[in-house]
Symmetry: D2
Subunit: 153 residues, 4 copies
């Protein structure tokens, strides 16, 4: 299998939605289908195409079938330690039948180059302590920062 | 000791700077005095007072001496899961001689109410795995999310 | 307050029991009063005084009152990596009203010297991920090994 | 591939040694070839066959080739919370060319049944925080205890 990573296009909307909240989707994996409202999903999709919004998406496309097999959603935001913004990789997903082919790694590397393009010094993301499958990849392409995240209850 | 938590004011700049990168300061604690450039520090201070910037600061003031004893710097940013922004508590500091009086807790609670004012569903922050002193407080006022942070090397 | 750390003696039994499973005790802290049976407690106490058992206890005594204020229970066992046994510090406790006086540290240091006496190359112990108060001490006197413990369900 | 798990036998010694400290071995994985002395290795092997030693080993054998493809070394020791001993799984290894066939799981399950035979209430082991490959298995067959291990420096 060969694949290409490129920015999301208008024609990708339905396939992105399938991976976002369909069967075997990203939100299903996080047991969060009921957490993200339809309005929020629609809003996020719209923001990808709005040049005034610092919210972005790249997708991985199977070169043979032309089908979407993964995505990375990311955004930039202020940081008090730097003049430059930071880039946060908010969501990363690869369809189950397309895993172990380097798609996740390629998506992260594309996000790294986006960090350069958007002039972000820091590119970062989070993963659950228990998600060992993801961390097998992350320890290869990234660095564990030694930080834990707390939130308002 | 009694104290008050309020938004930073122009007259606080020098005292904020002392806590940010002076002797016994926040950046000294993180061994990062050489990491944050003077331009970045100046920029961050300016952003606190710029209504077009989503970067904020509240300070704790000792009621007897009128001196600043702590600060919380925070910012808001997009989130792909919600229409509302998230609030990230970027920096929290209490002067060593003013600790164990509830200043850190009061600063976090002020940031929580700022989260309401700024219409942010999620208020969150990070701490080093090894910072047990901070976590003694955080486990009381917040919830560990079970997420670890990775970054681009 | 000054105190002395020494091996448990027969006359200490009742006071050790109070710290083990009485009010404000070690097992109460771990919500395990119902987990350790009276037979197991009696057995452990007996083993401390049995020269054929590799199970030991040292106690901390308040020099003014003569009362016990803490204990460390430990044992030795085989290790496949060394000819010498390892020493496992099974339980460590300091009465709440005697904390922050160096009692925990002194008990651990006594256990270290016991490791020398018993010819153990490795002296180790465990603590809950969430017990930040204990870890404030442990990061000073010991080294985090980077190992997590799993068990049979 | 089918395989059998059984107690180590005298004839297995050389093959066990190959997996313990040969090329691609267990100790090589832990960068510990220089840590475990030849005397300690010999001693451990001897203890497996000594009925007076609470040190044990089971091996996995490829049914087609008759070759050893994995081992589990374990030992029992006192525990202050129970009358019964605990069983500690000290070492677990599967040859790289025999992984992803359930060998690790079968070895752990054999150790569980050994825990029953040896009357041990608690069967446990440790793994490095960073060893995500191992933890993918451990989260299926075991339970993370939430304990971290510290040691004497």
């Amino acid at each position: 299998m060969t694949f290409t990573v490129r920015p999301i296009e208008e024609k990708d909307k339905q396939e992105w939605l399938d991976m976002w909240n369909g069967k075997g989707s990203y939100l299903e994996f996080y047991s969060s289908l009921g957490v993200v409202t339809p309005e929020a999903t629609e809003n996020t999709l719209k923001r990808f195409f709005d040049p005034n919004e610092p919210v972005y998406c790249v997708v991985a496309v199977n070169n043979e079938t032309g089908k979407l097999i993964g995505f990375a959603n990311y955004l930039t935001h202020r940081n008090t330690w730097t003049i430059e913004d930071s880039l946060y990789l908010n969501d990363l997903f690869v369809r189950e039948d397309s895993r172990l082919h380097g798609v996740g790694r390629a998506l992260i590397e594309k996000v790294y180059s986006e960090g350069d393009r958007l002039n972000c010094k820091k590119v970062y993301w989070s993963t659950q302590f228990e998600n060992h499958r993801a961390q097998l990849l992350y320890t290869k392409v990234g660095v564990k920062t030694g930080f834990l995240t707390y939130r308002k209850p």
